[in-house]
């Protein structure tokens, strides 16, 4: 084979299927946005909890992809290069996610006990918490800080990646200068954000591992989304030319690792709270193990841990998108179920599926996927001038 490759950036454009995906997603998204807008006005008490669940789910995919992108800049490796543009397109939806946070802010009086005068009146310790930390002003200020930090990371990584498409002269050092601290910033901000947005739904309940559970879940969601996308893309040029079983295998191994990390964090929280059996902590689980919610918890154990764990043990299973895509799709659904099981029992002691439980993830997801597909189509599917990319396109080890 020739030593130099003559590849045109236009040959690396995303396939037309992404345009179709974007259009159909947008139609579905807009239909359900109308449904959701109706819900926000007619039944805010059931709508906002569903909205928060769906929002956290899609934010998880976005931020999960951002962490994996930063990890890829820090470690390098073919596993990350082949999916870098998919992750960058997902990270590019952050402005949308910032806008979609507005309904959460509007929902504060319906969602959070610390913002409800009648709940505050009979709970003196909660008044102190609300006075010093959990209040609407602080909530919004902190959210602005989180989004500013995430936005700054995303802005620089995407901008420099675009510059890298024009020539190989740019240094890759600056990616690492942002990504290293960026991973740390993400871990800290998502810990605070998960406390603000989800844990504070039960204002008196505290779990120190809660932020870690969100990190594990978001990275897992990011990887699963990437595997679903690479399944669609690898059936067509150009990705069919450079995605090998070895890279799919690596993604499978990483998904297995994060399935186990998710289970580990969740079990740690359960073991400590179950063992302590303290009146401050145990109601969180009592709420989620009664009124039908136990079935959801059991489904999480089986489909978010046991089934993927057992299936991902096999080597051949992890080397094919044909098999991996089912695990990835199932885990993406289970990510939503996990968040639903975390959030919805606060508002309903018995299991409850409303129209909004279905409509909100479709509304946000439709628009999100449309923007993702649009971002993906604007750039070549491989960062052609990034180090080692050309090795991917050449025959093995020549």
């Amino acid at each position: 084979m020739s030593a130099t490759l003559h590849i045109n950036q236009s040959e690396l454009a995303a396939p037309p299927v992404m345009a179709t995906l974007g259009q159909r997603s947008l139609v579905i998204g807009l239909v359900f946005v109308v449904v959701c807008a109706f819900g926000a006005f007619t039944s805010p008490h059931t709508f906002y909890s569903a909205y928060l669940t769906a929002y956290m789910d899609w934010l998880g995919v976005t931020l999960g992809c951002m962490v994996i992108l930063m990890l890829q800049h820090m470690t390098g490796g073919a596993w990350g290069l082949v999916i870098r543009r998919v992750m960058e397109a997902a990270v590019g939806t952050l402005p949308l996610m910032a806008v979609l946070f507005i309904p959460v802010v509007l929902g504060i009086p319906y969602l959070y006990a610390w913002a409800q005068p009648q709940a505050l009146a009979k709970d003196v310790p909660l008044q102190q918490i609300a006075h010093s930390y959990l209040n609407a002003g602080g909530f919004v200020t902190r959210a602005v800080i989180y989004f500013a930090l995430w936005g700054a990371i995303a802005f620089f990584l995407l901008r420099w990646s675009a510059e890298q498409d024009t020539s190989s002269q740019h240094s890759t050092l600056r990616f690492r200068v942002v990504s290293g601290p960026g991973i740390l910033i993400y871990a800290l901000t998502i810990s605070f954000a998960s406390v603000d947005w989800v844990m504070s739904l039960q204002a008196r309940w505290v779990s120190t591992i809660y932020g870690m559970m969100f990190i594990a879940g978001q990275v897992l969601a990011g990887f699963c989304f990437v595997v679903v996308m690479e399944t669609i893309l690898s059936k067509r040029k150009p990705m069919s030319e450079y995605l090998h079983p070895k890279e799919i295998h690596d993604h499978g191994k990483l998904i297995l690792a994060f399935v186990m990390v998710w289970a580990y964090f969740n079990f740690s929280q359960w073991l400590i709270i179950w063992n302590g059996n303290l009146p401050d902590e145990i109601p969180w689980y009592l709420r989620r193990l009664n009124g039908g919610w136990a079935a959801v918890g059991l489904a999480l154990v089986i489909f978010h841990f046991v089934a993927p764990f057992v299936m991902l043990l096999g080597r051949q299973f992890k080397r094919r998108t044909r098999t991996m895509v089912w695990i990835a799709a199932m885990l993406l659904v289970m990510r939503y179920v996990d968040l639903w099981w975390n959030i919805e029992p606060v508002f309903s002691p018995t299991i409850r599926v409303t129209l909004w439980t279905i409509a909100c993830p479709l509304a946000i997801g439709g628009i999100w996927l449309w923007l993702f597909a649009r971002n993906l189509r604007q750039r070549p599917l491989l960062p052609l001038y990034a180090p080692h990319v050309r090795e991917l396109l050449e025959p093995a080890h020549e």
């Binding site: 359960w270 073991l271 059996n277 025959p395 093995a396 020549e398």
Partner: protein
């Protein structure tokens, strides 16, 4: 000096790609008992010389299950049968508190089985191996790539195998004494 029995015929190559091509051609020519040596792992080479799978994953899986069951049963027997203790009013058979040790025992058994199973199945440690009778084989850990057809292959014939390997563009073809 008496003639030693022959272990196989070895070809030396300059590049990994030549070794890969040679491995494919040798397989295609009907040779089944072949092996390849390279200073670094080459993706696809194992498949090219006819490797399909080995028993190490199965050994690890069985050992892991045995370890997990052992860990759980051990704790159950201690906490609920042999010396039942009332700990904060919880049942004797309190499964959540058994999980950590069960997990650790699974990992311990699986990890030890992975190392021992690997050694048992690849025959290491091996103080003597005929391929080192070829002096040039020392380069296999440096920058040369080797392919060997074992004399035990039914299709092996000293002259025809040598002639066949010569067609694969090797740097040299050497007979390996046993």
């Amino acid at each position: 000096m008496s003639q030693l029995p022959i272990y196989g015929m070895m070809a030396e190559f300059d590049t990994p790609q030549r070794l890969m091509d040679a491995a494919h051609h040798t397989s295609a020519a009907g040779y089944r008992k072949i092996d390849a040596y390279s200073p670094f792992p080459i993706e696809g080479l194992a498949e090219a010389i006819g490797f399909e799978s080995n028993a190490v994953p199965l050994v690890v899986l069985i050992a892991g299950i045995v370890g997990g069951v052992t860990g759980y049963v051990m704790q159950y027997w201690m906490a609920a049968v042999s010396y039942p203790l009332n700990i904060s009013g919880k049942p004797y058979h309190s499964w959540p508190s058994f999980i950590i040790v069960t997990f650790e025992m699974t990992i311990l058994f699986a990890g030890v089985a992975a190392v021992l199973g690997m050694l048992a199945l690849n025959g290491l440690p091996m103080p003597y191996h005929p391929v080192f009778n070829v002096p040039r084989f020392a380069f296999a850990s440096k920058d040369r790539f080797f392919l060997i057809v074992f004399a035990s292959d039914p299709k092996y014939d000293a002259s025809s195998t040598r002639n066949f390997l010569e067609t694969l563009d090797p740097r040299a073809v050497m007979e390996v004494p046993s």
